[in-house]
Symmetry: C2
Subunit: 799 residues, 2 copies
């Protein structure tokens, strides 16, 4: 039997000597940590996401085949209700899983937990954008087979994912049976009690249509409560000896292709599966139309063939890496980790449409698949420099959900718009309001991401179509929420800042500075676009009100201690008793009540330090040094969002070893599974933070006044750091060594020009030639800040 | 048939002209508000409680047959979990209902919603301690019958309740059938969404044993999760013409006696039912033994007869009223309301055992039947003066639950003991920690109730056996929880005070002053009982630590505005926009998020004002006047706990009309159903608060320094106010008119003596003769404080 032109020579799993910094490898030794591996090996294109589950689907930590935004809603109930407590929450659910391919050898199912595993290796190829697998297995009955697969989720083809699967007997003839499944309502294991993990919904999909035609099939399902429809088609190619037969069958929840026959050593059974995913509102595209659409997309992919998908994938990635790659000479392990981080950032979003990037991307169901503030504060600032169209898509998603944010503000009796603390579908899903609804800073975070995007791209069309409205409605929130003191200062009381070991505080510096930027950014944009602003009802009086509030925004400072207060009164709160806190007591939130955490000077994650990162011009160098020392001593880093901002500030103050160790922690979050949570999905913000730690920290990039400036200073551990970023359509490449900094526009015409500052010196970099400048000596910053006992990041800087 | 000597002449329902101030009457006109009537007519003896449901059980707002402390546990779940969030909650459930007696007339069930109601009156007799009912009904078939019943829950006989039931045909012979039920797992209607209402558990009781013997029966049940066993026996007397037959039958959940026969006009069918209730832990008294016990108790009651129960009830109440009665000449309606309030306080608790009084007593299932801080802060201070043994029992209940409170403190990583914010069985049941666990003041409230009880009674044995340990463990909580500032002041941060429109505040004045009293009270008691204290591990160093913390306790004061701050910074919070708050927006918690409520200067209930009530010596007269004016303008009284403390302070400051109107609101809370919540049970704290408003407000009673003082001043509306209170075993009677105050010891020997102060003059009152003193003129306090628009209490003072 020979039904198509499948790839004859799929890329070998480990054929030649490769640069390990471009590969992530897991072998049989790693099978203990299946869930983590599935997240690390997740493939995505910002639309479809497949967790790196084994082809055969078992053993499995947590299955996951996602479509960006596809979710169900579930009821929330509270022991004690409160006004405007969200009554339902979105939760990510899997679309039908098209990745499954199971194998039976002489009627024994291949399962790596049975028989004998002679070899097992899986490799995520960061340049090819594929997950390769090679397994040599001896069945319990003694038959030896070699199995190879290559899986991709196509970056250029939004709906498409594919698997090439190949199996051969090695030591004698064997009855092989390969079942390629498209499976809806796949069983999901029960999850832990941890609130950060996803809630599990059983059988969330209701079948609407299914068709099986020859080797191909399609399933259409809808959700019961969120009103979404999803269609998935699969199309197969089989390449096998003529003794092999193929049959297919379908049920509402499963389409299965079975390929079976007797193979001899030297013969191979090859199966290529092309899948296409679409989803739409149930009152949008009808089920049949959506089915036809995905069938056409899967058929088109099959017609082009797996090799074409591979080639396109490589080309897409080559283009992405040209901007996104970071060279980190001197630390091979972290060089690999940085590329791993950038790979997942590249594949998390899309330049088209209006989808955003959730906290875990499409790599797992942690946080119920919700989008949180870290998208705007950590991920989008990086993508704004590396893939601005992706950042724009994510901001367009926020804009698309302005109606829900306006409704929420009205429900909360606030003005303007109040974006949800966590959501998929656009409505507030936080079930604990002191660390949800009260964290109003998410609104300023969105405005900040808009301002950063517009500053870096000068995308006036986006500003007109979406950005201005986002800025205006969030500015209105702050103006209505804040109040004036008797002495003419403007205050924001009763909010929660980034540090989740505090809540309902007054004048959180981070929030106040972000709100100030929001107000001023809205005022500037409205003045630049008076007609557009007028259509939003914005006039000079409202703008003047915003500016007055911004100018009078209060920033609490403790004169006696010479440090800013994370929030009003913070420095007079009781201290945490670190001396009597055991190592096992971390993370503190699992061992102490909020009652203790909230009232003490213990910081879960960078808050005032994050404010200094995002608003470098609001603090003097001395203030930064004193603040860093003060807060470093009280920050336990129980959040993966913390290390990166700390790294940036440590680097700026001159504690380069500490900065490097914090960077190492941020970039290793998932590859080393530092928080034991990687199984729930990757920490995209931490991975993005690693780029910020390098580029803002050691590169010294600052852009908060609309101009690019660099104050680079390398830690001892790094011989060379090279990175690129886009600035107004140019790619600026920066290469740093201990001796010099080199700035260039490698792709630009000779007369192209970018203005930037290097350690206070204004430079004009043109397309004609690089500019190099010496690296000034790093002044001695004095003794390194002391983190709480046992909480210093692992020392890597001096390795 | 004639099976026993039932009462021939039960007390007529409205036989003679009576003083309406001793009766609460409801007629057919009130049937629209069944639930409210059931609470108002609830009978209780502090052990057994029967809601005032109609004999026939329907129509019914909410059935309720309670045993004090009998409850089930139910799981709590949170949308987002947190450390030490309670995982289960107690909820009150009904014991088997023995009050039910149903009637069929010519096979048609008596139901006041059918047929024709010719007369219907129910009267709660506050002196007899019975609920009488008289209904004349014409069945749909046209048969006219007269039904009379008298119900009591015996004050002197803890387990016993009884009903005398009598029916006669009026206009011709009728087939009458009377079914007297003892019914477990009675159907309970679904309740509202309001979090303050009880959760409903279906079929919470599991049958363990049942017996039916002749006219008597017993049911034994247990709960599934709280580990409690309840046994209820009924014993009947039937007095009827010989044509009437009696049969009985039993199932695990129901014992029924059916009495049926043909009666002619002039003939009566009389049934008397004696019930006895006991409960015990399932690992305590075995089911059979508990059954035998209640059978014996019911039999003994039957043997004595209903008349004896009535006589004993009257005698008990006469004794109680001797102390508890308050005469309020000049306002007949409120005279009745005050007696209603005092009646429910009398019957809410018991002098024996170690049970407490929940927020609703045994009158309904509001707040899930939980005990909250208002027991110690509102109810026990009154009972300490009127029925000190009942106060002692309730404090003994707290002492019995010290083990759970110590466990909870350890779980919260605090020192000493942390009593639950709400509970039945002793463990924390609050599902919203910012207004539950964080309201640590409950611990000082308990200590305060201990100190008040000991001061008024000089009960050294209680102090030794329970009081000292309660004082010590709560003092330890405060000493460990608080912290020292750089300037040597002691602070309590991150707590929630009485005002539930604020949470997680610093240095709440109420909490700090209560904690100070707690610390000093513990120190004093420990020094007076060094041996006992030593056994609790208390030595001089610990005592010195308590005193130091108490002496340094910070009390925030706003010098600029000349007022105390309810909590640190309160007076600089943004104001509430009362001008744009509609009447429909109250209660605010149902229309605004906590996000808005918490950060603004809006006060749900007396907090700083309550601090001034409980700690009068900590504030100057000027401070009281300024504070009252400031907080009155910001207090919306969305809690029934608020009016009474406001009344006390308004009276002290001299705003006697306002004080009277606030008193009127407090005392009318349930009779007028001001909060539309009386159906869930009575607001015992509000009713107790009414006594405080009269006695502390107009009587000017202060006792916070261990001496009795009175600064009486009557409002215009009252001609005479007379009340009693117990002080060191004497009954002091105080009679106030606008002209003079009279102090006497009416029951004491001639040489008995009580020292007290009258408007600053020391008096010695002996048993020999009353002391009278003139009432000084009330100084003009200036303009009345201005409550928020629309929130002034209804004007009654000038009627």
């Amino acid at each position: 039997m020979h039904t198509g032109s499948a790839t004859d020579q799929p890329p070998p799993a480990a054929a030649t000597v490769q640069d390990e910094s471009w590969r992530i490898r897991r072998t049989a030794a790693d099978l203990e940590r299946l869930g983590e591996t599935e997240s690390v090996f997740a493939l995505s294109n910002g639309w479809v996401g497949w967790r790196g589950v084994l082809d055969e689907g078992a053993p499995c930590g947590m299955p996951g085949s996602y479509v960006n935004g596809f979710h169900e809603r579930r009821e929330l109930s509270y022991p004690e209700e409160g006004y405007a407590f969200p009554q339902a929450s979105d939760t990510v659910i899997s679309a039908p899983n098209a990745a499954l391919i199971r194998l039976w050898v002489d009627d024994e199912p291949l399962d790596i937990r049975t028989g004998t595993l002679r070899g097992h290796e899986r490799v995520l190829d960061l340049r090819a954008g594929v997950l390769r697998r090679q397994t040599e297995w001896i069945s319990p009955g003694g038959r030896r087979v070699l199995l190879r697969s290559t899986r991709l989720v196509s970056l250029p083809r939004r709906p498409v994912a594919a698997v090439h699967y190949e199996v051969e007997p090695l030591d004698g003839p064997a009855e092989l049976r390969v079942c390629s499944d498209l499976l809806a309502n796949e069983r999901v294991p029960e999850r832990s009690e941890d609130p950060r993990a996803a809630s599990v919904l059983t059988d969330p999909l209701t079948a609407e249509a299914h068709r099986t035609t020859g080797l191909d099939g399609v399933l259409v399902h809808r959700t019961e409560r969120s009103g979404q429809r999803v269609a998935v088609a699969v199309s197969h190619l089989v390449d096998a000896p003529d003794t092999v037969t193929a049959t297919s069958d379908g049920t509402p929840d499963r389409m299965r292709l079975t390929v079976a026959g007797r193979l001899h050593p030297g013969e191979r059974l090859r199966l290529t599966k092309f899948a296409a995913y679409e989803c739409a509102p149930v009152d949008g595209t009808p089920a049949d139309e959506l089915a036809d659409l995905v069938v056409a997309e899967a058929d088109a992919a099959r017609a082009d063939g797996f090799d074409a998908l591979l080639a396109d994938q490589r080309a897409s990635l080559d283009a992405a890496w040209q901007v996104a790659d970071v060279r980190l000479d001197g630390d091979r392990e972290l060089q690999q980790a940085v590329r791993f981080a950038m790979f997942h950032l590249i594949q998390a979003g899309r330049p088209d449409g209006d989808r955003t990037i959730s906290a875990k991307g499409l790599t797992g169901n942690g946080y119920d698949g919700h989008v949180l503030w870290d998208t705007e504060t950590y991920v989008l600032p990086v993508l704004t420099y590396l893939a601005p169209a992706v950042a724009r898509s994510a901001l367009a998603w926020r804009h698309a959900h302005l109606p829900e944010a306006r409704e929420r503000a009205a429900e909360l009796r606030l003005t303007g718009a109040t974006f949800p603390w966590r959501t998929i579908g656009g409505r507030e899903c936080s079930g604990y309001w002191p660390a949800g609804t009260a964290a109003l800073h998410v609104n300023a975070d969105i405005a900040d991401a808009v301002l950063r995007y517009v500053a870096a791209t000068d995308d006036k069309r986006f500003l007109a179509e979406a950005g201005l409205e986002l800025l205006v409605e969030t500015a209105r929130l702050w103006h209505g929420f804040g109040h004036w003191s008797d002495t003419g200062t403007f205050h924001l009381h009763g909010v929660t800042g980034p540090d989740e070991y505090a809540a309902l505080v007054n004048d959180n510096v981070f929030t106040n500075l972000m709100a100030r930027r929001n107000l001023r950014g809205a005022a500037d944009a409205a003045e630049r676009h008076p007609d557009l602003a007028g259509r939003l009802g914005v006039g000079p009086a409202e703008i003047a009100g915003w500016r007055a509030a911004a100018d009078a925004m209060f920033v609490p400072y403790d004169r006696e201690r010479g440090v800013h207060q994370q929030s009003a009164g913070f420095t007079t709160q009781p201290e945490w008793d670190f001396a009597n806190t055991d190592e096992d007591d971390y993370p503190l939130l699992l061992h102490f009540p909020y009652l203790e955490l909230y009232r003490r000077q213990v910081v879960k994650q960078a808050d005032l330090v994050l404010a200094m990162q995002l608003h470098p011009g609001e603090f003097t160098a001395d203030e930064k040094a004193r603040n860093l020392a003060y807060y470093e001593a009280r920050t336990v880093r129980d959040s993966s969002l913390s290390a990166a901002p700390q790294a940036v500030l440590a680097a700026e103050v001159g504690h380069l070893d500490l900065a490097y160790d914090l960077f190492a922690e941020s970039v290793s979050q998932d590859l080393a599974d530092l928080g034991d949570k990687t199984a729930d999905g990757l920490h995209l913000a931490s991975l993005a933070g690693a780029w910020l730690a390098l580029v803002q920290g050691f590169g010294g990039l600052r852009d908060d006044r609309g101009v690019l400036s660099f104050d680079p200073r390398l830690p001892r551990r790094i011989d060379r750091l090279a990175f690129s970023l886009r600035w107004r359509r140019h790619r600026l490449r920066v290469t740093l060594t201990s001796a010099e900094a080199r700035y260039e526009l490698p792709d630009a015409a000779h007369d192209a020009e970018v203005e930037l500052w290097h350690h206070g010196e204004r430079l004009r970099v043109t397309g004609a030639e690089p500019v190099t400048r010496p690296m000034p000596p790093v002044p001695d910053p004095g003794p390194e800040p002391s983190p709480p006992p046992g909480r210093r990041p692992t020392r890597r800087s001096a390795d």
